[in-house]
């Protein structure tokens, strides 16, 4: 309650952080990323209450999945490797969690995955959420995610299939495991996406040198956290330079400085994943830092958005 009050007072005296991003109006540009504390409506609502501008659910599929065997995460230098394996109770069972999450008062974005445009479309029409985020980028689940998302034509087809059924904005989450993320972004745009989200994790691996075993139960996983931020910033910059639709920046955002860097690279909003290991307070910290920065510089968010492209 104290936290809420103090956030409130900051918002009223400081520069506004509200943004319009990818078809959504957000009170601030700091969003909870997909798969992070997104398994329950309660944790999503808590993230909203602690200051998130929007929240994204765990990626939801057609049928319940238990995910990969453990270890499902490894902490590495400056980052996290994970191979959860898209555990989820199915989109049908998850609707009740979304309804709870909505009590948080900010947009709830449902992340969904499937193995074909049809499956994506089916899930999209079966969910009530404020927006949809298409996971075309998870690097460690067979038949899903980046296995489709690496092909521009599939990205376009999946986006198109969802757009045809959805009555809410559609965001497409892209993989950085490609030679040219702009091709994928353009495909999403052609398919009718309202925004692209970049980046999902980098395909990676860690080995236990005492035993020789790959540490993750799934052997391969995705790298996230500060380690990937320079890659994410580059992807956001490239996408923002080439696309007309909004770009949502994700990858290694843990402090307000990181959020500012992403926005300067061209992001309309950012998402926070791995940094949630520091607790729910991260939203308040980033928003407060951004506000103070904008105040110090006498700027607003729109001024710094995409600034780097104008500086080079």
């Amino acid at each position: 309650m104290l936290i809420l009050l103090s956030l409130f007072s900051i918002c009223s005296i400081m520069p506004s952080l509200s943004v319009h991003a990818g078809g959504l109006d957000l009170k601030n540009p700091v969003i909870l990323a997909a798969g992070i504390l997104g398994t329950t409506g309660a944790s999503l609502r808590r993230a909203a209450q602690e200051g998130a501008g929007a929240v994204v659910t765990k990626s939801l599929g057609s049928a319940p999945r238990e995910g990969h065997h453990g270890p499902t995460v490894v902490q590495v230098d400056c980052g996290l490797l994970n191979a959860m394996g898209l555990p989820n109770p199915s989109y049908r069972e998850f609707q009740q969690e979304i309804d709870t999450a909505k009590e948080g008062g900010v947009p709830v974005i449902a992340s969904i995955f499937g193995s074909s445009p049809e499956e994506f479309g089916r899930i999209a029409s079966g969910l009530q959420a404020d927006a949809l985020e298409l996971n075309l980028s998870c690097p460690h689940a067979e038949k899903y995610g980046a296995e489709l998302g690496r092909y521009p034509d599939l990205v376009e087809a999946v986006t198109g299939a969802v757009k045809a059924r959805a009555h809410v904005p559609v965001w497409v989450k892209l993989t950085p495991n490609t030679a040219d993320i702009v091709e994928l972004g353009l495909a999403a745009q052609r398919g009718g996406a309202d925004a692209v989200v970049a980046i999902n994790t980098l395909k990676a691996m860690a080995i236990d040198i005492e035993s020789g075993y790959p540490i993750l139960g799934n052997r391969f996983g995705g790298l996230s956290g500060p380690a990937v931020k320079p890659v994410a910033v580059r992807c956001v910059y490239e996408l923002a330079s080439a696309l007309e639709i909004a770009v949502i920046g994700v990858g290694g955002v843990s402090r307000w400085e990181d959020a500012a860097e992403m926005i300067m690279a061209g992001a309309s909003a950012v998402q926070v994943g791995t940094a949630m290991t520091k607790g729910y307070g991260v939203f308040g910290e980033i928003n407060e830092g951004l506000s103070r920065y904008l105040e110090r510089k006498s700027l607003n968010l729109e001024d710094i958005k995409g600034l780097s492209a104008r500086r080079s």
Binding site: T39, R46, P64, V73, S90, E93, F94, E210
Partner: protein
């Protein structure tokens, strides 16, 4: 932190289904903290400490059974100690445990005793053949035993032994065991909920507070980092005792 390598120093059979593993390494856990145990090639599962360098494991499935294949000299990977353990409050404490849930309580009791507290215990098991750590609890103070089938101690669930104790007299009460057993105790002792600490069991995957697998309704408590020890008054307002989520995140029963 990557899993650290730990060579199993010793394996002790407590019952046919329960074994205690003494681990290598300067782990220095607080009672109630847990460690993620990686049985290589199989899975990684959470285990509470049953002593400064031991875990006590009930073989119930794939990972725990694979662990039972390992003897002294074999090695496992460890992430931990993790989570918030029990907090010692006051100088007269009661431990209430069921099954393998008695393990972290024995560890706690020994530390509490060493710190000068009076320690009484109420411990329950299915049958006389399942009893573990009886002498550890008896060494601490008064210890009351229950078995479901009456083959040892008081016949009945753990709650059957509750009347032996006056909760008013204890500065703090510590609970660990099957969820429905803990729920049973907490519901019967609601008026003391603000001095009852319980170690809860949720499905842990990341164990570092990001994946959401262990979150509890309605506050989104992350049991892996904010728990596993949680005050009973908070639990009374939660999903605890009604449902819990499994590996897929589906709500299921909290039996076991």
């Amino acid at each position: 932190m990557r899993p650290i390598n730990s060579v199993i120093q010793e394996v002790r059979s407590e019952t046919p289904q329960i074994r205690t593993f003494r681990l290598e390494g300067d782990l220095d856990p607080a009672p109630g903290q847990y460690v993620m145990v990686w049985v290589r090639g199989v899975d990684e599962v959470p285990m509470s400490f049953s002593g400064p360098d031991t875990i006590t494991v009930h073989a119930v499935g794939e990972a725990t059974q694979a662990l039972f294949q390992l003897g002294a000299g074999s090695s496992i990977g460890l992430r931990g100690p993790l989570g918030n353990g029990f907090v010692l409050r006051g100088d007269r404490v009661l431990l209430i445990g069921g099954g393998v849930g008695t393990a972290p309580l024995a560890f706690l009791g020994e530390q509490a005793r060493a710190a000068g507290a009076a320690v009484d215990s109420l411990i329950g098991f299915r049958s006389s053949g399942d009893v573990i750590f009886q002498s550890r609890f008896e060494g601490l103070g008064r210890a009351v035993l229950t078995t479901d089938d009456g083959s040892a101690g008081i016949a009945g669930r753990v709650s059957a032994g509750l009347s032996e104790f006056d909760l008013k007299g204890y500065s703090q009460v510590y609970l660990c065991g099957p969820e429905l057993m803990m729920w049973d105790i907490i519901s019967r002792t609601r008026e003391h909920a603000s001095k009852i600490q319980a170690s809860v069991n949720r499905y842990f995957k990341c164990a570092i507070g990001v994946c959401g697998s262990c979150c509890m309704d309605p506050d989104g408590i992350r049991a892996c980092v904010e728990g596993p020890v949680i005050m009973a008054d908070r639990l009374l307002e939660s999903e605890f005792g009604r449902y819990r989520r499994g590996a897929a995140g589906s709500r299921g029963s909290c039996r076991g």
